[in-house]
Symmetry: none
Subunit: 139 residues, 3 copies
């Protein structure tokens, strides 16, 4: 299976908090960062996830935001610091590649955002990903 | 590879509109419905997608909205009519299963939404999925 | 139309930037805030959107993030300042209601985020919504 999902970060489950409908899964990426995924409780059961499970965190490019400033007091759990390695701009949207510890992240953001933030190769940024946007794959 | 992504609908690519950064891919599901996915241009190239390609459309449950009324004048491209087959409610969130032609769709929506719409097993609904939330997998 | 989508904000289209696959639509909400929606080019054509069109911006609760700190240098286009009016917490997830100019916004975020940000009724926050998460309805 080959996925259109650009962002695939490997790591190990470090903890799970199950709710009735949803569950939060904490992952330590091989790059050293911590990531939280909010998935259905059913998915956790189906995948047999537990502390120690090897997983890949999957995130669609359209779900990745970028910040050039400090990120404090933000509900967004996942923050991967990195450096812009490339920008491809269309009329409305742009695709921005960010090198992070242990891999690369692609963000599809508006062209306006690229201009406002002055993003270009070499710009230091933090990739922000809401927990509800992180999917998980095993093996 | 096993995915936490609950919604996986198989079909065939019927057309692609490439932009610079993004591309829209139209798919005819085996259930007969048409689906549009907005993915990065790069993903289309990497997956070698073309009219006729067999794909699976992947949609995270948190990206599925439900409607109990008619849906007109809506930018959301993907609309799968079906019937609720089960509701699991937590304090804040709920997981709703919907039987659609050719498969089943899970929607993770707020508990408030379930109450407001009066959703229960047997309720007729339309599952709504924004194109930017659809990922694609080949083979 | 009865939708599970909690957040529906009315306004008027002020501008459209069409790309090949996607388009960005700018909206002035009746509450006075500006909003950007990134939707498919096809949706703009189908809905016949143009400057002056009356629309409702639809945003699923799971797509709304909250900030208690300053939001500068952020790619997320849509920022609605407001005040928390209620918090419903489950084990994994929480639903937070925020009063904003001209309406109310619901954010489904992790329970951890609520605790870390110390959110409670009366907390001043900014609701953050990525443009790709905004859908549009006419009429």
């Amino acid at each position: 299976m080959t996925l259109s999902i650009r962002n695939q970060l490997s790591g190990t489950v470090t903890g799970i908090t199950p709710g009735e409908a949803m569950a939060t899964v904490r992952i330590r990426l091989y790059g050293g960062q911590d990531l939280t995924a909010a998935v259905t409780r059913e998915a956790v059961d189906d995948l047999g996830l537990a502390a120690g499970s090897a997983v890949r965190a999957l995130v669609k490019s359209t779900e990745v935001a970028l910040s050039t400033g400090p990120v404090e007091g933000l509900s967004i759990r996942n923050r991967l610091p990195g450096t812009v390695t490339g920008v491809t701009a269309g009329e409305a949207m742009a695709s921005v590649k960010v090198g992070v510890d242990g891999g690369e992240v692609t963000a599809a953001i508006t062209r306006d955002a690229v201009a406002d933030l002055g993003l270009e190769t070499g710009s230091p940024v933090v990739a922000l990903i809401k927990s509800t946007e992180v999917s998980l794959a095993t093996a």
